[in-house]
Amino acid sequence: MSVPPAAFLAAGTILFAIGLAGALLKRNALSIFLSIELMMNAVNLLFLAYGRMRGDASSHVIVFFVIAIAAAEAAVGLAVFVALFRSRQTIEVDRVNLLKW
């Protein structure tokens, strides 16, 4: 494979930065959550690239764990959004600004 490893690192970092932009700039809690999923996948890509550069298969196991934890996080986070929507009728993060109720 003639693709230089630095190209994979650059692609992963750019995807991470795009996810970061979404997480910081979006208002809808669901879009923020989607951006966080994108950031996790960008880090997975970086793990795979570094693992290939070092010849270490542990990176695959760590990516496996990241995916499992992302699945758990998605289930709980979406349940939180459903509960939030039931009590406030919105999931815009700007309008959920009270720590009471």
């Binding site: 693709v3 692609a11 970092t13 930065a17 996810g19 208002r27 699945a71 758990a72």
Partner: protein
């Protein structure tokens, strides 16, 4: 220009373009569908990195399960367009954009500067052979990472129970 390089450019370009589309898009459904294309590109990149099993897992778990869950929630909550009535916090948005550009540029510069491989790439190909990936991961999971593996199992159970309790209609 070899085939691998063309495939990499195609997959990385697709992933980055649709990630940007996901950020720009105001409709949540279209955001999710853009992210599916991005994950497809990431899957191709994982295959290029000699990780076909991880690529399959990303496709099945992320695109197949997590994003479908997102679509279910979007339809359950009946979200269509993001409300754009008033840009209530322009200063924070500008600050966020500046922070993203600064941090993204910093990360990109650092990863590219520190990108020199500590081990020769030829050694990598010898130690992670593609047909032996699944037995290798299985052995590592049940030896070095056994405790983490069991802990993740408990975490998944706890998450399932927590999601059920959170989404119950009446808490009392």
């Amino acid at each position: 220009m070899t085939g691998g390089l063309v495939l990499f450019a195609l997959a990385a370009g697709l992933a980055i373009a649709f990630a940007l589309a996901m950020i720009v898009e105001t409709s949540p459904v279209r955001s999710v569908l853009s992210l599916v294309v991005t994950f497809f590109g990431i899957t191709v990149l994982a295959i290029l990195l000699a990780a076909p099993f991880i690529a399959a897992i990303i496709m099945i778990v992320y695109a197949g399960a997590i994003l479908v869950l997102f679509l279910f929630v979007i339809m359950l909550l009946n979200l269509n367009e993001e409300a754009r009535e008033k840009d209530a916090r322009p200063v924070q948005r500008v600050l966020g954009l500046v922070a993203v550009l600064a941090l993204g540029g910093l990360l990109l510069g650092l990863t590219l500067r520190a990108g020199a491989p500590p081990v020769a790439p030829s050694a990598a190909a010898a130690k992670i052979p593609s047909p032996d990936e699944i037995p290798l991961i299985g052995r590592l999971l049940f030896s070095d990472y056994l405790f983490a593996f069991e802990a993740v199992a408990v975490l998944l159970l706890a998450a399932a129970v927590g999601a059920l309790i959170l989404s119950k209609r009446r808490m009392d």
